[in-house]
């Protein structure tokens, strides 16, 4: 929306333009008094200008007659935008299928499972896969990886997974194709490592501080498309005696993360531990941090053992049916059972 379309008197408009205001977004954060000072006009006039803005913003959607509330979009717009979105592949086709293409941007996804099931592996895999260049069907974004005391993140493993990812890309796209030549430079494991912003935290105070700081960080690094918190749980499980307090702090945390995911159009993935819960006379596995926390994520995926097979199960999702898919953790990272099966078996340990 341009200033020139603003329904205000032409003299005010020319004053605005003279001062370099061409865009509505540059106007909206201003207060009337500052604007008045800036343009050397009456305060009332400044108020008049600012009042005109939200009205104008709605008429931005002039082609859709539903823009009644400022900032509102129609479900149709949302749907078409969602269909335009690319998703972050997990590396396992079956899992991508039940997730509707992969991990979605603008959503908070929680992944939980028993120790050793591959939560961190999935996290690293996503941090690598989000960087697959657009030409190869990826997002070409970057990742923020926040590791707490518990997290088993290892740079060495990230390097291996990046190499595995690159070699798979090269299998699918033969090396002599034109696309390959254009982004040959980017397909190096070291570049993938550089695309992961790795934060380490040692207490939940630091955890909150980093998440508060993220907004700043993401404003400066707009290409970040994925934020992973490797275990939201550890510090919250050990440091809190007052559960009501913990619920409030966690509530604030999840609101912030939701807001970040929407504002910056990125995916947030939280890794969580599982714990046992006593229901109906038997102990069941459930994600840690309690019931109120379970409402704070858009999607929940539980990783579990099914005999000797690893399985991912969608426990909660607003748009997807509950389903489960088997997956493998191989030397190259997360892979499907069927694809690359032979290669997965022969990976050196």
């Amino acid at each position: 929306m341009e200033i020139s379309n603003l329904p205000i008197s032409p003299s005010l408009r020319s004053k605005l333009l003279a001062k370099g205001y061409t865009n509505l977004s540059s106007l909206s954060p201003l207060s009337p008094s500052i604007l008045a000072q800036e343009l050397s006009i009456q305060c009332e006039e400044a108020i008049e200008i600012l009042r005109a803005i939200p009205h104008a913003t709605t008429s931005k959607n002039a082609y859709t007659p539903h823009g009644i509330i400022p900032g509102a979009v129609t479900a149709w717009d949302m749907l078409s935008e969602e269909q335009m979105q690319r998703h972050i592949s997990t590396g396992c086709n079956d899992l991508d299928t039940i997730l509707g293409g992969g991990i979605h941007c603008k959503e908070v996804t929680e992944v939980g499972g028993v120790p050793g099931i591959g939560k961190t592996q999935l996290g690293i895999q996503l941090a690598v896969n989000v960087q697959i260049p657009v030409e190869y069907g990826g997002l070409g974004g970057k990742a923020v990886y926040i590791v707490d005391t518990e997290g088993s993140f290892m740079a060495e493993r990230a390097y291996q997974i990046a190499e595995g990812c690159i070699s798979d890309i090269l299998d699918i796209f033969p090396s002599n194709s034109r696309e390959f030549l254009s982004c040959k430079e980017r397909l190096r494991a070291n570049n993938f490592l550089d695309g992961i912003f790795y934060f380490r935290i040692c207490s939940y105070t630091e955890q909150i501080a980093v998440i508060n700081y993220l907004e700043n960080f993401l404003t400066q690094n707009k290409d970040v498309k994925l934020v992973i918190i490797d275990s939201v749980t550890f510090h919250f499980r050990q440091d809190f005696d007052d559960l009501a307090q913990r619920t409030r702090v966690l509530g604030g945390l999840s609101l912030r993360l939701m807001k970040l995911s929407k504002t910056f159009n990125l995916a947030v993935v939280l890794l969580n531990q599982v714990t046992t819960k006593f229901t109906d006379g038997s102990f069941q596995l459930t994600l840690a941090l309690g019931d109120s926390w379970s409402h704070s994520c858009t999607n929940r995926i539980i990783l579990h053992w099914n005999g000797n097979e690893r399985c991912a199960y969608i426990e909660k999702s607003p748009s997807l049916p509950s389903a489960s898919a088997p997956y493998l953790v191989t030397g190259k990272g997360i892979r499907g059972i069927n694809s690359n099966f032979k290669r997965a078996r022969t990976m050196p340990s």
Partner: protein, 319 residues
Amino acid sequence: MLFTAASSASIRDPDSIPQSSRDSFAKPQHPLPIPIPLQLLLPHPKLSLGCPILSRLLAGGLPVGTITEISGESASGKSQLCLQLILSSLLPPYLGGLGASSLLILPSLLPSSSLLRRLSLLPSPLHISPLDHIFVASAQSPEHLMMLLYQADRLFEKSPGKMPVRLVVVDSIAAIFRSEFENNLGDLKSRTGMFFRVAAKLKDQARKFGAVVVVTNQVVDVMGPEVAGDGGNNHHIGPVLWSSGRMVAPAMGLSWANCINTRIFLSRSDEVAAMGVNGGEAIVRTKRTMEVVFAPHVPRSSCEFVIRKDGVFGLELER
């Protein structure tokens, strides 16, 4: 013993927590967090297991800065492997060691003398007398263990010996925890809390001082799913582990498993290697297996090993 009160007060004081969390939501007190370039973290330093085959199973050894659990039934070779790690840590880094002394924490000092005697019998690398480079302490209770760990901070910062302390071995952690707690809900909860505190402290030290933490653990028998029906929740936790023909799982359950990075499982089973000649006794061979149940850097894998007088060695099987 002097600073027990102060240190335990600082970790326990619940009043300090809500205040600080409220503050941090308003404005971060810390300097701005800076992402760490991952390439600086390559390659990850590791402590060799003292045998090339076993080390290869772990892609070089136990990663520095993490907690490794070695679990197995009695006489499966846990202590033996720990001793070998202690020896290996004395080696300089280019030989797979840490160039460091170690801290050994035992449930009680009595059996340690036999452990240490065994150590003195092992061939020592570089003509260093290993016993000069081990600090031994005993922990009778989880609180005591916690206190020892706080005291160990000073040991890490300034070792009294020639070499810094970079390896912590906590022998049979379950024995330290088992005696203290009743099997009721309140005690189980405080036990879990204690797990997290001990693990957090260990990990903090591992990371801050670039140390390797090794914890040995016992195993408990598992009722199979066919016995316990759907209620047997242990089979969710992972594929079953077998030792001596029994289905087992490392002790202390799920909450402890959340605290460790790497789990190594040692199993043994007696098998008949050869039938006895003309009715004599069959020759029974103990087949020992080391399995990496989970690790941050290697897939699940396993390998057979033998315990000889001069140490623990992996066997390369031709397939």
